[in-house]
Amino acid sequence: MHLFWSFARQAFHTSAIYRFDFWLRMVSNFVWMFSEYWLWTVLYTQKAGAFNVTLEQMVTYAVMASVIGMSIRPGGSVAYQIATKVKNGEIIMDMLNPLDFHLHTLARNVGETLFLTATLGVPSFLVGHFVLGMRLPANLGQGLLFLLSLGMGYGVIFSLNYLLGMMSIFTIDIRNISWAYNAVVRFFSGSDIPLWLFPLFLSQVAGVLPFKCIYFIPLSIYIGKLGAQDTLWAMVLQAFWLAALAVVGRFAWQRAHRHLTIQGG
């Protein structure tokens, strides 16, 4: 556990180097948040209270989605880090090291995610709350449930990104695939639009995919859209996907050992 945190801290520090980049990202996220705010405000002038969700709840959902998107997103750095290691052969060192690669990668990523949350997520949250009228959770209990659910959502997206990275061991280049991957995850995770807007067919598809664990479930809990029982079931579903994907991730690494080809080896 001590080792885990030292890797996490290291990642935290490497992320802190580039200042111009940081400000640009901050501005870009504000643009995104404002865009979401205007989109729903304008749409709700046509149909107030659509789908039993008030404008305030909808804005909270959408703005909070972009706050979370600052630190947790599909195609985050995990996949590219692994792919780069495969390309330049560094992955061999990871295979020789007496370290658990899966946990090591997780530790690094937790560090990066915490860094992004502290530096970009928190300011975005404050702007969302004070400027765009984003609500806080109805009570402390709901807030805590949201955090727990968000944590599991993070676990799911980490596992998926990790698996995408593992693919690079089998196919070498994942840059092109990741375009499609990002689009599919964004769409079905509810990061751009909440899943209750989906027509029947699409919501059935979204129902059997793990992606809604990432944004849709935590955000629905945050705005109080789910009742007590629905919340419980949603979180059980998250726990199920988290466990399943973690197992697949470990299995993939074992397979990778047998399959590895290093470019230019």
Binding site: Y18, S28, F34, L39, V184, F187, L197
Partner: protein
């Protein structure tokens, strides 16, 4: 000038042939970009199917708007996307190689890579526009066709100039790809929806500060007949080429300046 163009086509041809070595990547890349655009459009379609219009724009008008952006973007993507890689060229010393060869380093940079996924963007933009056109009644003639071509090229140049200006940062800091990515994301967020829906200061932002509204929004308004000749802002729909040329001039000046003060990273 002609010699330069000949050199450029030769370089691009070489890049294309070397890219075509990887057939699977080529197919996967094309399919991926089509999927990416399909889901962006699906998001808009789902929203618009639940609400009737967005700030007065119907679904097909927005598809037209989006396609207009994708068409301009496709040429940028095909020929200039690798400006994003300038930081690696600098860090790995590839750029120093460009500098010692007896050919304009900028030309070598432009010719060094081709990004075939631009073909997929072209397909999406073309098909999207054709379908939107079928669902709308837009007066069309020779004038509109010429205007469309000019606007698409202006869009390419606007994106090119903004990216080039950002890429130049790498000469000072050794890092620019991430900034380029960030700005592209902002631009994408803005292009998806008509600028009408935003508040006044936001409209000023995308018109004056980061003038991406000239890529598709203002021209689309004119083509779709969403702005009357008497409107005080009518002229904005005509100046996309002017904006493109101005930005290009600024970016070129920045490039020259960056190159003058550049000393290798020494790796």
């Amino acid at each position: 000038m002609i010699e330069t163009l000949r050199m450029y086509t030769k370089l691009i041809g070489m890049s294309f042939r070397s890219r075509m070595q990887f057939r699977t990547d080529f197919i996967v890349g094309l399919v991926s970009v089509v999927v990416l655009n399909a889901f962006s459009l699906a998001t808009i379609a789902v929203v618009l199917s639940r609400f009737q219009n967005l700030a007065g724009w119907t679904i097909w008008e927005i598809v037209f708007l989006y396609s207009l952006w994708v068409l301009g973007h496709s040429l940028f993507s095909l020929l200039f996307w690798h400006l994003e890689d300038l930081e690696y060229y600098i860090i790995e010393g590839t750029f120093d190689m460009f500098l010692v060869r007896p050919l304009n380093p900028f030309l070598q940079l432009l010719g060094s890579e081709i990004n075939y996924t631009g073909f997929a963007d072209m397909l999406v933009g073309g098909v999207g526009m054709a379908i939107a056109f079928n669902h709308l009644t837009i007066p069309w003639g020779l004038w509109q066709s010429i205007y469309l071509a000019v606007v698409v090229l202006s869009g390419t140049l606007i994106e090119f100039s903004i990216t080039l200006a950002l890429a130049c940062i790498a000469f000072w800091t050794g890092r620019s790809a991430s900034s380029i990515n960030t700005v592209m994301q902002v631009s994408f967020v803005i292009q998806r929806y008509p600028v009408d829906m935003y508040g006044r200061w936001f409209q000023v932002f995308v018109t004056c500060l980061l003038p991406v509204a000239f890529i598709n929004y203002y021209p689309a308004k004119l083509l779709l007949g969403k702005i009357a000749p008497g409107d005080p802002w009518y002229w904005l729909s005509y100046i996309s080429p002017l904006v493109a040329m101005t930005l290009l001039g600024l970016a070129a000046a920045l490039w020259k300046r960056a190159l003058r003060q550049y000393s290798s990273t020494g790796s």
